[in-house]
């Protein structure tokens, strides 16, 4: 794999990762990232943060990373249910992205202590209030499906209706990272809710990025496959379209390389 020419990441037909047409304030779009525990999407999330702040995924393309001069925290907001602020700060500092250039909402620390026992609608509305109202901003939300396990009785439809869709309206582009490491054909009530949540995300998305380990098992020179497909939402409001593609990628020692499949 070392002799194979590595590729730049492109999601849209205007040769961009996050198209400039996306966060103009005229539309509210969604991109869904699916991953498994074997192929965590963390590297992709940091790449998207970098792209939003610097204009391109410089670290992925191994070119020198420009220093971010603007300090507009509203450009991008990161919220995670499984990582705390320190984790993102450390990772983004390595990409020369200081904490003053993005906003982080910690949904891990003390979330249970603060919210358990409260009515579901109240918890969801309080969560929503934490996000800035700016239709030109990008919001990255990591593993919102965790809410289905933390709030007793919460259904997929309720989560979409009271949290995901209002959140989409608050920003220009919402990027949801979700973990799908279970059988989509599960028969239990909980399994159905999880499947419905992911399916709902697919329908609302303009693009779906999926990270999967190789079907053949572990390989020393390939971490997994990275597939870009169009989602269920119409992108007629954009002059560009999602470029469907599949890469192989290698994630090693905090570096990621993409190769065409």
């Amino acid at each position: 794999m070392s002799n194979v020419q590595k590729q730049d990441l492109v999601l849209f037909s205007d040769s961009s990762v996050i198209s400039k047409e996306l966060c103009t304030g005229k539309s509210h779009d969604l991109i869904t990232i699916t991953s498994s525990p074997a192929t965590s999407s963390f590297w992709l999330l940091t790449t998207l943060v970098e792209t939003r702040l610097t204009g391109a995924p410089f670290s992925l393309n191994s070119t020198s990373v420009p220093v971010v001069t603007h300090k507009n925290m509203n450009l991008i907001t990161i919220a995670s249910f499984i990582h705390n602020a320190q984790y993102y700060t450390d990772a983004l500092n390595r990409l020369k992205l200081g904490p003053e250039s993005y906003k982080y909402i910690d949904l891990l620390t003390n979330f249970v202590i603060k919210n358990i026992g409260k009515p579901r609608a109240k918890v969801l509305s309080e969560l929503l209030e934490k996000f800035p109202q700016d239709s030109t901003s990008v919001v990255i939300l990591e593993q919102p499906e965790v809410l289905l396990t933390l709030l007793d009785g919460l259904t997929s439809d309720e989560l979409h209706r009271k949290f995901i869709m209002p959140l989409m309206q608050r920003c220009g582009l919402l990027i949801i990272s979700t973990n799908i490491n279970y059988s989509p054909n599960g028969q239990t009530k909980d399994a159905i809710e999880f499947s419905r949540f992911v399916a709902g995300c697919f329908y609302k998305s303009i693009a779906v990025l999926s990270l999967k380990p190789l079907d053949t098992g572990r390989a020393a020179d390939v971490t997994g496959s990275f597939r870009i497909t169009r989602g269920g939402a119409s992108n007629s409001h954009l002059s560009c379209h999602v470029v469907e593609n599949e890469y192989l990628y290698l994630n090693q020692k905090e570096n990621t390389k993409l190769f065409y499949r």
């Binding site: 525990p37 965590s40 705390n84 933390l150 490491n181 971490t223």
Partner: protein, 450 residues
Amino acid sequence: MSFRKRGEVINGANSGVRAVPGRTPVARPTIPTGRTPTVIGGRNPVVHSPSTLADRLDRVSIRNEGKKTDERESLDANHPGVKPSPATSHQTTSTGSFHLDKVLGHSGLPLGNSLLVEEQGTTDFGSILCKLFSSQGIVHNRIENSVTSGNTHLIVLSINQGFAKELPGVYKGSRKDIRKSKIAEEEAKVTVQNLTGKTNAARSNDLKIAWRYGLGNESSDKEGLGKPNLNDENNYSHQFDITTRLMPAPSASEITFISPLQPVQVVLNQVEQAIKKQSGKIIRIVVPSLLHPAMYPPSMFNLAKIMPILHGARSIVKNYGSRCILFASVSSDLLDELLLTQIENTFDSVINLEPFDQEMTQLLERAYKSQPNKIQHGLLHIMKLPIFSERGEMHVLKSSYAFKNGKRKFEIEEWGIPVDDIEDTEKDTPTHEHAGVEHKTDNTKVSVEF
């Protein structure tokens, strides 16, 4: 003799000043409360009014507020149970099993991370690992010459209060070594028998020449066998003998039991309070046999019941990431797929133990007939590794390792299917046909009976 009420301040309030006789104290501002400074040698002591002192202290406290919280969370730099990971330089601590430490890729479990041991089938190897992990913490805490009184605290999320008494003791060598150390201990005791030298007669004769070379001092060294020393690098990881018990059993100052069956907020608050109380110590949180039907009611098998506890525990471990680790074991056959994957999702690293079935065990017994110590007990699958998997690296390794649990160690080694020599030799022998006939007749018999 004068009688004063208890608590009354001597020379208090506005009374005179204590002074060296014959010297005149220098006038100073009066101090309304508190102890009056003593004048020695006629020098003027620097006196601050309480208000200014309090102000200064306040200012210091404000300035160092961030630093104070860091100090509360920071760890003693000389902690014998912590060393940097060779892979990522994160501070790591041992799990109590040298081989498991190695498999995790960091020579231990990095602080601020969690490990889940899943187990298939009805065996209970996971609880052995739990006990090793717990014992390791207690042994670290008991290391002599430690700067502070203790350096590690164990929090057990379980209703099994007997867990503390089940922890294995440190392996003290073979039977021969133990016998020798016992003899040395007996001889070192100050008893009439020892002083008269009756028992030591033979030994002292042997050492008549040896004392010149200091060989007699060996016994004092042997006394320390099994007792870890602060300067010894081996203190990072110990070897445990699962047939013995940790003596004395961990006390309340070393171990805190919290029932996971209480309301979630109570459980999490109790865990956090216990961590805050043990400032500067490594906190090892252990959840042995998570969701074991004997301990957990059926309602806990609901996602909305168990996940808040685990999510909260993850939050605490990450919040006190510089000195906190979490270890849990679970029987995977008892849980449905979704619940198991959601539990896995809250842990930073996951390993899966798959004990061999009877046929495989029989094959191994045949293959290692002359070397029974080599018989493995099952396969170890790696599902997630701490730090690496979170970054996005793919570290799923299935059927690459096998484990075997012995008296003194939980060994993990690379797995290879052994060659069954007996079957081959049987095939090669001239009695093959005869054996085949016998086999055939056996089969016929079975079918007729059926």
